[in-house]
C-alpha cells in the first residue's frame, strides 16, 4: 500500500501522455522507446532494490518455486531468471509498440485520404471511406491509450508484489 503514490503517478502520467498524443498535430511522448524504457527500468530497479532491502537474500527465493523435483531445479531456475530479466523489456516494448503502431496506422490511412482526394471529384467520393476508417481508428486509438496505461500500472503492481512477497 505504501507504493500507491508511485503507481498512481505512473498511471496518470502515462495516461495523460497517451491521450495527448491523440490530438491532431500533437506529439506522442510514449511512442519513443527511451521514454517507456525509462519507466520500465524505474519499476524494475525499484522492485530489485526494495526486494533485497526488505527480504535480504530470501528475495532470490523468487526464482525457485516450491514443490518441484530436485533434478529439474537448475533448469527451472534458469528459466525463471531469464523470464525475470525479460520483464522490463516486455513492459516497455508493450507500451511503446502499441503507441507507435497506432499512430503509424493513423498516418497511413490519413495518407490514403489525401491520395484519393487528389484524383478529382470521384476521388473525393472515394476518400470518404478511408476518412471514416481513420475516425474509427482514432476512437480505437483512444481506447488503446487508456488501456495501455492501465495495463502498465497493473503490471507495475504485480511486479512490486513480487518484491514484497517473493515466492509463488
Amino acid at each position: 500500500m505504501k507504493f500507491f503514490p508511485l503507481v498512481f503517478s505512473i498511471f496518470m502520467f502515462i495516461l495523460v501522455l497517451n491521450v495527448i498524443g491523440i490530438i491532431p498535430y500533437a506529439f506522442t511522448v510514449t511512442s519513443h522507446i527511451i521514454i517507456t524504457v525509462a519507466f520500465a527500468l524505474l519499476v524494475f530497479v525499484t522492485v530489485v532494490i526494495y526486494g533485497f532491502w526488505r527480504n535480504g537474500l530470501r528475495f532470490l527465493k523468487l526464482f525457485v518455486p516450491s514443490g518441484i523435483p530436485i533434478y529439474i531445479l537448475p533448469l527451472v531456475t534458469a528459466i525463471e531468471v531469464m523470464s525475470f530479466f525479460s520483464r522490463p523489456v516486455s513492459h516497455s516494448v508493450r507500451l511503446f509498440a502499441n503507441m507507435l503502431a497506432g499512430h503509424i496506422t493513423l498516418k497511413v490511412f490519413g495518407g490514403f485520404v489525401v491520395m484519393l482526394g487528389g484524383l478529382g471529384f470521384l476521388g473525393w467520393l472515394g476518400a470518404a471511406l478511408p476518412l471514416a476508417l481513420t475516425t474509427a481508428l482514432t476512437a480505437l486509438e483512444l481506447l488503446v491509450a487508456l488501456l495501455q496505461a492501465y495495463v502498465f500500472a497493473i503490471l507495475t503492481c504485480i511486479y512490486l508484489n513480487d518484491a514484497v512477497h517473493p515466492g509463488h
Partner: protein, 76 residues
C-alpha cells in the same frame, strides 16, 4: 540476395506472427463469452481480468509488428 530485398522478405514473414496473437485474443474472449452466458452475474467481476489478459496477448502481436517495422525502417 541484396540486403534490402532480404529486409522486405523478412518483414513480410515477421507479420505472420500476428496470426498467433489473433488466435490468442480470440481464445480469451471466446472463453469469457462462453462462461458469461452460463453465469452472467459473475461475468462482471471478471471483466477487469478480461481486459488485462487481452492487453497482454495483444502485446505479443504488436512485438511481431515491431520486428517488421524495425526491419523496414530502422537499421535492423
Amino acid at each position: 540476395m541484396d540486403p534490402t530485398a532480404a529486409k522486405y522478405i523478412g518483414a513480410g514473414i515477421a507479420c505472420i506472427g500476428m496470426g498467433g496473437a489473433g488466435v490468442g485474443v480470440g481464445i480469451i474472449f471466446g472463453n469469457y463469452l462462453a462462461a458469461a452466458i452460463r453465469n452472467p452475474s459473475a461475468a462482471a467481476g471478471q471483466f477487469a481480468n478480461l481486459i488485462f489478459g487481452f492487453a497482454i496477448t495483444e502485446a505479443l502481436g504488436i512485438f511481431s509488428l515491431l520486428i517488421a517495422l524495425l526491419l523496414l525502417f530502422a537499421l535492423g
